[in-house]
């Protein structure tokens, strides 16, 4: 027992040494001091005056973890839904438009818009599910392809009919200020992260302790088995996709009400929230409780790297390379990822 633990620790150490070596070489090439860069990295991921950088990390982590949780629900059910980006955009777009169009008291508008966003996300996921179940377009392909139309539809809507003309940008008008999510007192972190924590708790409990989650996972492990023992496979598929899409939609709504207060073209696509969510899930082999932490890890890497670029004079391309190297070495260290890929293989075969 001790032996395996020791070996595990050893191989982690080796991986970390590798990462350090690669980064050291890259930094030596541009003459940036390694130590400064490292401390800048940590400082910018977690520090700052009144922890302002930590707040930035948390704000980013909320969105990444939210997407990771959304993806996890699908993946655990064997549904290779990589259309999180489209569902996120659908949610963000609908949240902004609903808040602009709905009359009524702010709390009502906020609640209704968030619900509408979740519905939109769920709807977009269900579209991929319906293509998969009823038309025979494999989920993997269908969900990926559906990312593009919604992105351009959103872009068109905020570029033409709903454009904030005064701003000169491709963006919608600001949503009413009364609907903005408040900041935690004394910080610049909005309370959107509470929604994500709630969604994560829901997902953890759902995956580990509910009958529906159990059935969905059986379906994910072996669809043929699930069919044979009489689980409602289609219903499970659609319900799981809807849940997954609804959480993505929620993340979109939080980006709107918490951070940008409007829909800006590209605001949900360019930061690669959905893709980062996918790697966050795969990194920890879909273990539910670890998924939000993995999201936090990636957020820290990204804010840290951005900060390192700002303050240690390490050019941004090094920051990119650094991110890639860390992901490569860490990902290959995590054994759970193997499980993930074999499950995916089974899922992909089922798509045939």
């Amino acid at each position: 027992m001790n032996g395996t633990l020791g070996r595990e620790a050893m191989s982690w150490a080796v991986a970390l040494a590798w990462i350090a070596a690669v980064l050291f070489i890259l930094m030596a090439l541009v003459g940036a001091p390694f130590g400064d860069a490292l401390s800048a990295f940590l400082q910018n991921a977690f520090g700052g005056r009144r922890f302002s950088y930590l707040m930035a990390t948390l704000s980013r982590a909320a969105l990444i973890a939210g997407m990771a949780v959304s993806v996890m629900l699908s993946f655990r059910a064997g549904l290779f839904n990589i259309g999180g980006e489209g569902q996120l955009v659908a949610g963000g777009l609908v949240a902004a438009l609903a808040a602009l169009l709905l009359p009524g008291p702010p709390l009502f508008v906020l609640t209704a818009s968030i619900l509408a966003a979740m519905l939109a996300g769920a709807g977009w996921a269900l579209l991929a599910g319906a293509l998969h179940l009823y038309v025979g377009v494999p989920l993997l392909v269908g969900s990926l392809l559906l990312n593009y139309p919604i992105r351009y539809i959103a872009s068109y809507l905020v570029a033409h009919p709903f454009r904030d003309v005064q701003s000169g940008m491709v963006q919608s008008h600001l949503v009413p200020q009364a609907t903005w999510l408040p900041y935690f007192p004394g910080t610049r972190l909005d309370i959107g992260i509470l929604f994500i924590i709630a969604a994560s708790l829901f997902a953890i409990v759902y995956s580990r302790a509910t009958v529906h989650g159990y059935h969905a996972r059986m379906n994910g492990l072996s669809p043929a088995f699930a069919r044979t023992v009489g689980l409602p496979v289609r219903k499970l598929t659609l319900q799981t996709l809807a849940m997954s899409g609804a959480i993505a939609g929620l993340v979109g709504a939080i980006a709107v009400f918490g951070i940008h207060h409007r829909y800006i073209d590209g605001m949900l696509v360019q930061p690669l929230y959905a893709w980062t969510g996918i790697i966050a899930v795969l990194l920890v082999g879909m273990i539910p409780w670890a998924v939000p932490l993995s999201g936090l890890f990636f957020a820290a890497i990204q804010t840290g790297a951005a900060g390192m670029e700002r303050s240690a004079g390490v050019p941004k391309e090094i920051a990119l390379v650094m991110q890639a190297v860390i992901i490569l070495f860490v990902a290959s260290r995590v054994s759970g990822a193997l499980v993930a890929s074999s499950e995916r293989k089974a899922g992909a075969a089922e798509d045939a």
């Binding site: 700052g48 930035a56 454009r163 003309v165 940008h260 409007r262 930061p271 941004k316």
Partner: protein
């Protein structure tokens, strides 16, 4: 160690974007001039921009220079909470500015209008084109300004407006080139390109298929000698230097820079540089003449142009 800190936050990666590069030149010149440390933070996404501005405030910047219209919301949010920091937005302004927010905007459409005038005069096919990176309001300052210029001298000439689009609109020379080729095939003999990283592709198309182009921001005529008629010039560095000076004097600066202020220009208007510019327009004195006279009437106010950015 200097006692002041200026931070320049770009809205996008600087890369080859001449406009953003000039911003960096400007901040460096200002740092030199006024004895300040300067830093440049590049952003990639909407979230990065917010983070970078917060970081600048957090690092105790005295002046934060924001280039581009992408920063309006952010400034509106952050400026009131950071009374010790002055914000300078270049290229855009917000309403009801707080005391610590300053602006410098350009009227690029005036220069683009001049390109249009030249195109209208030089076109033989009766059809000219313009390609922008992405159909966003800001780029209409180029495309619409150009189109208006064309119409002013050749009402019959049609203007083909197209966009690069795709996954990476601001640096996709392959699509930009393809778009230029398509427009040329559809009959346009002069094409104005405002495609950022895609401009190279348009120049290549011009050389291969032998047509004429206009471009933006800095003198790009040497990129494709004999094919670039003229370029619009945008003096971001000057503007920044002036505005920072004004802020340091305690002004609540709001500058609008067009042809009259020397904020924008065209090679044809630069008498001392035109001859060595390698721009095709130098071989057409009558065009240069006309452009200068139109410019003069814009400067003296007898010709007023509307900002196309706010057109629906």
């Amino acid at each position: 160690q200097e006692d002041k800190l200026f931070v320049y936050v770009s809205p996008d990666p600087i890369g080859v974007n001449a406009f953003l590069q000039m911003g960096r030149d400007g901040i460096e010149a200002a740092g030199e001039e006024y004895g300040a440390d300067v830093r440049t933070y590049e952003s990639r996404t909407a979230a990065d921009r917010l983070e970078n501005v917060n970081a600048a405030v957090n690092e105790g910047a005295d002046i934060v220079v924001l280039l581009g219209f992408e920063f309006n919301d952010i400034v509106r949010e952050v400026a009131p909470t950071a009374p010790d920091t002055e914000f300078l937005i270049v290229d855009q302004c917000i309403e009801d500015r707080p005391e610590n927010v300053h602006c410098a905007v350009f009227r690029e459409y005036e220069a683009s209008y001049l390109m249009g005038v030249a195109a209208g005069m030089l076109s033989e096919s009766g059809k000219v084109g313009v390609v922008g990176a992405l159909d966003i309001p800001f780029l209409h300052r180029y495309t619409d300004g150009y189109a208006q210029g064309v119409k002013s001298v050749a009402p019959e000439t049609t203007v083909d407006v197209r966009w690069v689009g795709g996954e990476n609109p601001f640096s996709d020379p392959v699509r930009a080139k393809e778009q230029a080729v398509a427009m040329h095939s559809a009959g346009s003999d002069l094409i104005f390109t405002a495609t950022s990283g895609g401009d190279f592709g348009v120049f290549e198309a011009a050389e291969e298929r032998d047509f004429l182009v206009f471009s933006v921001d800095i003198n790009q005529c040497p990129q494709a000698p004999g094919h670039v008629v003229d370029v619009t010039l945008k003096r971001v560095d000057n503007a920044m230097l002036q505005a920072i000076g004004a802020i340091l004097e305690g002004e609540h600066a709001m500058m609008s820079l067009g042809l009259a202020e020397g904020g924008v220009s065209a090679m044809a208007l630069e008498e001392d540089q035109l001859a060595d510019s390698q721009c095709v327009v130098a071989e057409h004195p009558e065009v240069v003449e006309k452009m200068r006279s139109v410019a003069a009437s814009i400067i003296d106010g007898s010709l007023t142009l509307e900002d196309p950015m706010f057109a629906q």
